[in-house]
Symmetry: C2
Subunit: 321 residues, 2 copies
């Protein structure tokens, strides 16, 4: 176990040194000072090798992704990320691996001024659990339950690229050159919408990050807010890579079902549309209106104004519940 | 994965409903409101089957222990526990197992008014990571680094019983009847010193919980505080079960080296001795002075005033660093 304790020394080699951290790594607990008039948002996500990322994923990408998926949850709540704790299980001591993992983890932490305040290293199959915390002004969190019939449905960025990379990994399709590099980057190094999440706090009535796939995550909002939704298929934001590699119909299917996008799915009232669009445009964040919530308790899709059901697993998920 | 999501419903069946929890389980993040003039203490501990507990440990005991080891870290910091998040990896869906696990987890949470605010369930080898949080008045946390030469060394309760149970489990000794029941209870259902930790905040100059063994954890305090220590072997608090089963010398060896006690190890100045002893006596918490810190940079042991080195692995640990 002593060797594993030594690994913990890697976790102390970070540049972030927040003023609100009273006690950092190395004692029984970390101690932080909460800011006045701010609540604290807390999320925990586990990544297991072979389940949440391909086993041959580079260590640096795993370090990035373990932080990114948690910051994405904070973004979906409208919170500003501040501190993370990590519990990591490693099959063996591989100092190169842990060094690269930390490089990926700390690069993202430094970008957003997030401090690692605790770590626990154990021996076992590769698995990483990060608990991330952030601050959000009192009563300003964006919940899944705040959406109303009539709200417009928006997504940031483009959908399905990570799932495209997984299709390549599993041999369903073959990507090459720039297309491969683009899709693998979207899978391995997702960019959590940290600043966009905070920026839409004043405008969005509900938000979730797209980790399980657009339809699955939209169904979470619909269920929590007791509404239904229609998605306008021709409005789904698709990358050129997706369209070139799959064609329009298969690209739309993957955009509906593929996970790991870590884009934000937002519900925005008619009154808040312009404010939200302008705010995100000013930040250079692409956002697209892809449909509208309604009073039915199911999720439908239309193409050129006609009801159209694509071949998508999980599509009936919410409707049947 | 859907079945695994259903498991999460067990995590919502808790009785604790804290007023400072704004958003509990079920959204992208939990949201809590910090109290004024309180800092927040945070700790993360992982328990892996076969490493941190025997594989045949009852589910209820695992649920209890996963919370207990984390509350013990909060106690060692002088913090009052408030919220926990759990990431659990399960090899299969076994509703009886998860129900018993939750029973053990929630019983301890309810006792200390601790609310579960987040959960993530994945499929894999049995492993539990809990992040526990607590509150501590500003600048009142007890760190490992605050001890001074001359401070007295105290421990709560009795030492080595959990290690005695492990000796039985691994076949080194055979326990029977009440002795077996007593030792197994100490191993499987450790009682974190939650109230004692808060009560000694005004008196202790340093604290740690004994999870790795007395000498190993004392060495952490010595290293962080830049002091040495002498332990008076005849003063080690040993249970009747330990003395009967092992005899005095082997019992002392196990008290020095055995882990999983989850008692508190405290450094207390001469001026604070009476106050600390009285406070803990009023609470009915046994506490024993077992030695003194000094200016040497090693840990020594004496028996009847004579330097005496017992056969204890890890004893040279701090001295050689």
């Amino acid at each position: 176990m002593k060797e594993f304790e030594l690994i913990n020394t890697y976790f102390t080699e970070q540049l972030v040194n927040r003023r609100d951290v009273v006690v950092g790594i190395g004692d029984d607990c970390a101690v932080i000072t909460p800011a006045e008039k701010q609540n604290i948002a807390i999320t925990t996500d586990t990544l297991i090798a072979g389940v949440h990322f391909p086993k041959n994923t580079p260590a640096k990408a795993i370090g990035h992704k373990a932080v990114a998926v948690n910051l994405s949850d904070l973004a979906a709540m409208g919170a500003e990320p501040t501190w993370i704790s990590i519990a990591i299980s490693l099959p063996e001591i591989d100092e190169d691996w842990i060094s690269n993992f930390c490089e990926g983890m700390f690069a993202l932490c430094e970008f957003y001024n997030v401090q690692l305040i605790g770590g626990d290293t154990t021996q076992g199959p590769l698995s990483i659990t990060i608990t991330a915390q952030g601050v959000v002004p009192v009563n300003k969190q964006i919940c899944r339950s705040g959406a109303k019939a009539g709200d417009w449905i928006y997504v940031t960025g483009e959908l399905g690229d990570a799932a495209l990379a997984l299709k390549h990994y599993y041999g369903d399709i073959t990507l090459r050159g720039d297309s491969l590099a683009y899709a693998m980057n979207r899978l391995n190094e997702p960019k959590p919408r940290v600043l966009a999440g905070q920026a839409v706090r004043e405008y969005a009535s509900a938000a979730i990050d797209i980790s399980d796939g657009l339809l699955a995550d939209l169904s979470h909002i619909c269920k929590a807010s007791n509404v239904g939704a229609n998605i306008v298929l021709e409005d789904l934001p698709l990358s050129d890579t997706m369209l070139t590699c799959l064609g329009a119909e298969k690209a739309m299917e993957l955009a509906l079902s593929g996970g790991d996008d870590y884009e934000l799915l937002l519900a925005v009232s008619e009154d808040n549309k312009v404010g939200m669009e302008t705010t995100l445009a000013d930040m250079g964040t692409k956002v697209t209106c892809i449909g509208q919530l309604n009073g039915n308790h199911k999720i439908t899709t239309t193409l050129n104004n006609k009801p159209t059901q694509l071949n998508v697993k999980g599509f009936e998920h919410f409707a049947n519940e």
